[in-house]
Amino acid sequence: MPEQLVFAMEVTLNGLMAGVLYALVALGFVLIYKASGIFNYAQGVMALFAAMTLVGIMNGQVPFSHLINAIFGGHITHFGWTVPSFVAILLTVGVMVLLAWMVQQFVMRHLVGQEPIILFMATIGLAYFLEGVADLMWGSEIKTLDVGLPQGINLWIDERTFEIFDYGFFIDNLDLVATIIAALLVAGLVAFAQYTKQGRAMRAVADDHQAALSVGISLNFIWVLVWSVAGFVALVAGIMWGTKSGVQFSLSLIALKALPVLMLGGFTSIPGAIVGGLIIGVGEKLFEFLVGPLVGGATENWFAYVLALLFLVFRPQGLFGEKIIERV
């Protein structure tokens, strides 16, 4: 087999797995958008906040320690214990549910029936607020996150591919794990939406508020639920990205990578978010591999956005989005 083709295969595989991570972030957007029509700009910051909270709890950090020390003049920073990762993840889920409740109670509840642009702006405010709170709670230094996920080259794949192609593929174990977890997460979400009472209520609210009320669904409860689920997805994304590149504030920028994914897949489709993520992941890696050398590289920075722009021109609803029909 020609060397170039083997390279391309490896690049494609790596692209697919990068795409899974994009899809994970995009998924959080889709969930909230579907159920409440809110484009949640804060999704990326939620992933950051979740990852920081997880690290903080695992390391036994005292939340708001800077603030406490500044007021009371102490020097406490750590409780002096460490929490096993599994317990810490459960606690973080609890924090994300609490956050969801607070967002609904103090922000979204008061904006019911407002224009989408106002809701969007509220989430921008939320993003900055949450970033500030994350800073205040856990400090701004870069932290490493290790919940025990395997990392580094997968030797099995390396050896097998070496036997076949005489060239070993470099596939990161973490990417493999991320793919499996993402698949489980999506399967879980679909099952939840299709087969549970709350899932059915969630779909009902997404469709028609009045009708949902008339069958006895509390919109407030469902929105807290949706924000909780989005918070959970943010936590998963935060763990993956945080393990990969450290927990730092630039993590909130991965939300920007989710935008082209959403434009491709459509804002209202869970399968769309996944397929969109995969296309962008593979597309930008292959483009870099094939075209990058001709134009001096660094195409990964802009490829996704140009692709999204093309979609906006030719298919604004995305691949799977609801068709926009304008009645005159």
Binding site: F192, Y195, T196, K197, Q198, R200, A201, R203, A204, A206, D207, D208, Q210, A211, A212, L213, S214, V215, G216, I217, S218, L219
Partner: protein, 272 residues
């Protein structure tokens, strides 16, 4: 009208029971506009009660007050012998008041079956964990509710479209699915907002038959708003007539038909 303390017997021989819902001196304002002005009436167990009136009379507002979508500024709402505090619509629904909407409010993304199943949400008591694990109780519950739903689907003759997404259905069938969803909640009081609006004669006949059958078969108490006078007079046991937010008539169809105020309102005598 006959003595109403313990109910009455209708012309076609059905027994109507005590008061299920009583509206006492309801007044509803939107800013300076008075939509409902000091209206009182009751709805009795097992009866078909109609609210009629010209456009803008406040009929839909009245239905929205009953179902909790509007909260009146003055007056009391009594349901099953207890005064109802101001409630959100979903709480009203949980008390056993189901409704349909004038402009059909269905869940377009779902199949007919799923739409009707949402009517059963309040009968499902298992928690999230039990459902997530899909064990025993949750499964039994789903089956049990599914049976009720299938019975209603049979009853309203929509078996053929069970799996169809509702967005694809014609108007008349959508109305029927909406009725099915409301019925699935096994309501103590069923509110129908213009169940026959926009239908052709055949569809209207079908719908009338279903309303009568529902009342007959399940003993459901029904309050409905309708424009088509002929239909209303045929269907209902008692009629409230509204005009400009006020009640101008209340009684059996015959009594209402001969009421001078009602005749004036419909024929458009000047209000001076």
């Amino acid at each position: 009208m006959k003595d109403m303390e313990e109910g009455y017997i209708t012309e076609d021989g059905r027994t109507i029971g005590g008061v299920v819902m009583e509206m006492k001196n309801i007044t509803l304002r939107f800013g300076g506009v008075v939509a409902i002005k000091d209206i009182s009436f009751d709805i009795r167990e097992g009866e078909i009660r109609a609210i009629i009136g010209p456009n803008g009379a406040g009929k839909s507002s009245m239905l929205n007050v009953i179902s909790g979508f509007y909260v009146p500024q003055e007056g009391e709402v009594w349901f099953r012998g207890a005064k109802r505090p101001p409630m959100r619509p979903y709480e009203v629904a949980r008390q056993g008041i189901a409704r349909t909407f004038q402009n059909i409010a269905l869940f377009d993304g779902m199949s007919v079956l799923d739409n009707v199943m949402t009517g059963r949400l309040n009968y499902m008591k298992t928690n999230l964990m039990q459902q997530a694990l899909w064990r025993g109780k949750a499964e039994a519950e789903e089956t049990e509710n599914r049976e009720v739903v299938e019975r209603i689907i049979d009853f309203l003759e929509i078996q053929a479209i069970r799996k169809t997404p509702v967005a694809r259905l014609p108007y008349g069938l959508k109305k029927r699915v909406e009725l099915a969803r409301a019925l699935a909640a096994e309501p103590k009081l069923l509110l129908l907002d213009e169940p026959m609006a926009g239908m052709n004669v055949e569809e209207k006949e079908d719908m009338s038959r279903f309303i009568l059958d529902v009342n007959d078969e399940f003993g459901t108490t029904i309050a409905l708003i309708e424009h088509d006078m002929g239909v209303v007079m045929d269907l209902s046991d008692r009629v409230v007539v509204m005009d400009y937010g006020k009640k101008i008539g209340d009684g059996t169809p015959d009594e209402v038909r001969n009421n001078q105020d009602v005749i004036d309102a419909y024929l458009g005598v000047s209000h001076d």
